[in-house]
């Protein structure tokens, strides 16, 4: 996402420049994008200040009432917090695990090719399927509690999805299980770009494995970190299927994400105005987070 280099090297006479009319090539993409995302987002930004119910042609402006009611509503605040917690925790956990796996598989172990394919497999699975699978695993009489019994840790048994805090953890476990392989593959590709000679030179100079990782490998992984963090963070902020299937947002409304609460409020209760207001709050949060992340990674250097 960097600026195109300002002074362009010209080769030949006029051969390097495209005619301006080539910008027409961008029209179909911009049209689809505007129809699906930009226009509805702008319209939504207006609806957020109305009492529109999604059906009627008329609506009244209600000022900030939708936003006031969101912050006065513990369920909505909880959904916002849950979304942020899910996005951040799964991003950090999946990236750490993914990086660890990538470093392990980048060694000379014999199983590395098979395991690379294996660890990535959960990332291609349909979230609906993994959500049902883990719903069963976390059930009171399910395999996880069975496993704890079998290894003599019965004291740790829980009604995982029946308890508000554990249910959120369970949802995050599913996401991390799926996304770690995603991160791993991105880091493995990044590690290919780290020249072996450089690492060997570091070893010759007496740098230990940790030092070599921190001073040589890590800076060269910066683009991989950017991509991986961005992809998993965006995934986390959107989370719907895992929550909807595993807990339905419950117990009570304790584990709703913004997507599940919006779905519930808008399409089951017709609260379109306040649902969009909630989404707008998310938009602002994403913009702020992205700006911070972009700055941080830019500052760290190595980002293209």
């Amino acid at each position: 996402m960097s600026e195109p280099a300002a002074p362009r090297r010209r080769r030949g006479i006029g051969a390097g420049t495209l005619p301006k009319s080539m910008l027409l090539f961008a029209v179909p993409a911009v049209a689809f994008y505007a129809f699906v995302l930009v226009v509805p987002t702008l319209r939504g930004s207006v609806y957020a200040f109305t009492d529109w119910d999604g059906l009627s042609q008329t609506f009244d402006f209600v000022g900030l009432r939708n936003f006031e009611s969101i912050f006065a509503n513990p369920d909505a605040v909880q959904a916002i917090i849950n979304t942020l917690v899910i996005a951040f925790v799964t991003t950090i956990a999946a990236n750490l695990i993914g990086l660890g796996l990538a470093l392990l598989l980048n060694s000379r172990i014999k199983s590395r090719n098979v395991l690379r394919v294996f660890f990535f497999a959960p990332a291609v699975l349909t979230p609906v399927v993994t959500a049902y699978l883990f719903k069963y695993i976390f059930a009171p009489l399910g395999p996880l509690n069975g496993l704890l019994d079998a290894i003599g840790l019965s004291a740790l048994k829980q009604d995982w999805l029946g308890d508000a805090d554990w249910a959120l953890v369970a949802i995050m476990v599913v996401i991390v299980w799926q996304q770690s392989g995603y991160a791993m593959v991105i880091y493995l590709a990044g590690l290919q770009g780290v020249p072996a000679e450089l690492l060997e030179a570091g070893a010759v100079d007496g740098a230990g494995a940790v030092r070599r990782f921190w001073s040589i490998t890590r800076p060269m992984l910066a683009p991989a970190i950017t991509i991986s963090v961005m992809l998993i963070l965006i995934h986390g902020l959107k989370v719907f299927a895992e929550v909807w299937i595993m807990t339905g947002g419950g117990p009570g409304n304790a584990t709703n994400s913004l997507s599940t609460l919006i779905y519930k409020n808008a399409f089951q209760f017709g609260l379109f105005g306040s649902s969009i207001a909630m989404a707008l709050i998310l938009l602002v949060m994403v913009a702020v987070i992205s700006a911070i992340q972009y700055r941080a990674l830019l500052f760290q250097g190595g980002h293209k």
């Binding site: 080769r11 129809f35 172990i109 683009p223």
Partner: protein
């Protein structure tokens, strides 16, 4: 440094142990799908008398065949459109130094930050008013627009690092920009096209919320929604449910294992640039 030392052996054991933890859900999924519905032994214990009956019942009950066809159609159409419009758009956005081109680039990049939840409801109403609810076209339209920013981002990153010599040679030979793009530039972008295809295909195939909204009540369903409805009916019968889930993920897993190299390498395409 290149030999298989005892340290490598330790790493091997550690990695395999982690793999075992990751494999646990897969074991439960397959183990349960293979057992008779009235088999009450613990799901941890290997099924003693495996049967394939659950797969037959799930296939017949859940109408998974037509759901797979629907998913296939939506995925192929969406990905073809996404690739076509994003690759075309990226070319002038990178190669033109015109200020309007720069503005258009940033206009599209803003889409990376727009959470789709804001657009979701107004767009739903538009699609409803256009009478497209319940059609697979509504999904194709949605994915084509939604995935433009990310796909253009991947293409522009790749194009920036790509040498201009070939396009220039084509221009010198008198090829018009349109021809030069499809004949010279687009084939050279193959690695990143692979990435765009794979990431978008997986996303579209697996998406749940959009078809839940746009296809609800209609006869045609994609795989995730078909499984959702099916499990709703057979909630207590986990062996049949799990057999259905396996059928549901089989197509994508088969493609993944057949094309594992391309799928995994595809990701490195998104890193360059």
């Amino acid at each position: 440094m290149n030999r298989y030392t005892w340290r490598t052996a330790v790493l091997e054991v550690v990695t395999l142990a982690i793999a075992l933890v990751f494999a646990f859900p897969f074991y439960i999924l397959v183990n349960l799908a293979l057992r008779h519905a009235n088999d009450q032994t613990s799901p941890l214990i290997l099924t003693a008398q495996p049967t394939l009956d659950n797969f037959v019942s799930a296939w017949n009950e859940a109408d998974l065949g037509s759901a797979i066809l629907n998913s296939l159609m939506v995925t192929v159409l969406s990905v073809v459109i996404i690739v076509g419009i994003s690759a075309m758009a990226a070319y002038p956005l990178v190669r033109l130094t015109w200020s309007l081109s720069r503005t258009a680039y940033w206009f599209v990049m803003v889409g990376l930050l727009l959470p789709f939840q804001v657009a979701l409801i107004p767009l739903y109403v538009t699609i409803r008013d256009l009478g497209l609810l319940g059609t697979t076209w509504s999904l194709v339209l949605f994915y084509a627009g939604l995935q433009v920013p990310f796909s253009v981002f991947l293409y522009t990153g790749f194009l920036r690092a790509m040498p201009r010599e070939y396009e220039e040679a084509a221009a010198v030979d008198g090829a018009r920009p349109f021809t030069a793009f499809w004949r010279v530039v687009f084939p050279m972008m193959r690695p990143v096209t692979g990435t765009v295809v794979i990431l978008n295909a997986i996303f579209v195939w697996n998406d749940f919320l959009t078809p839940l909204l746009y296809l609800s009540g209609s006869g045609s369903q994609t795989i995730p929604v078909a499984l959702f409805g099916f499990v709703g009916e057979y909630a207590a019968n986990w062996p049949i449910v799990f057999a259905g889930l396996i059928i549901g993920i089989a197509p994508i897993l088969i493609v993944y294992f057949l094309l594992q190299k391309s799928v995994i390498q595809g990701f490195s395409g998104g890193l360059k640039g």
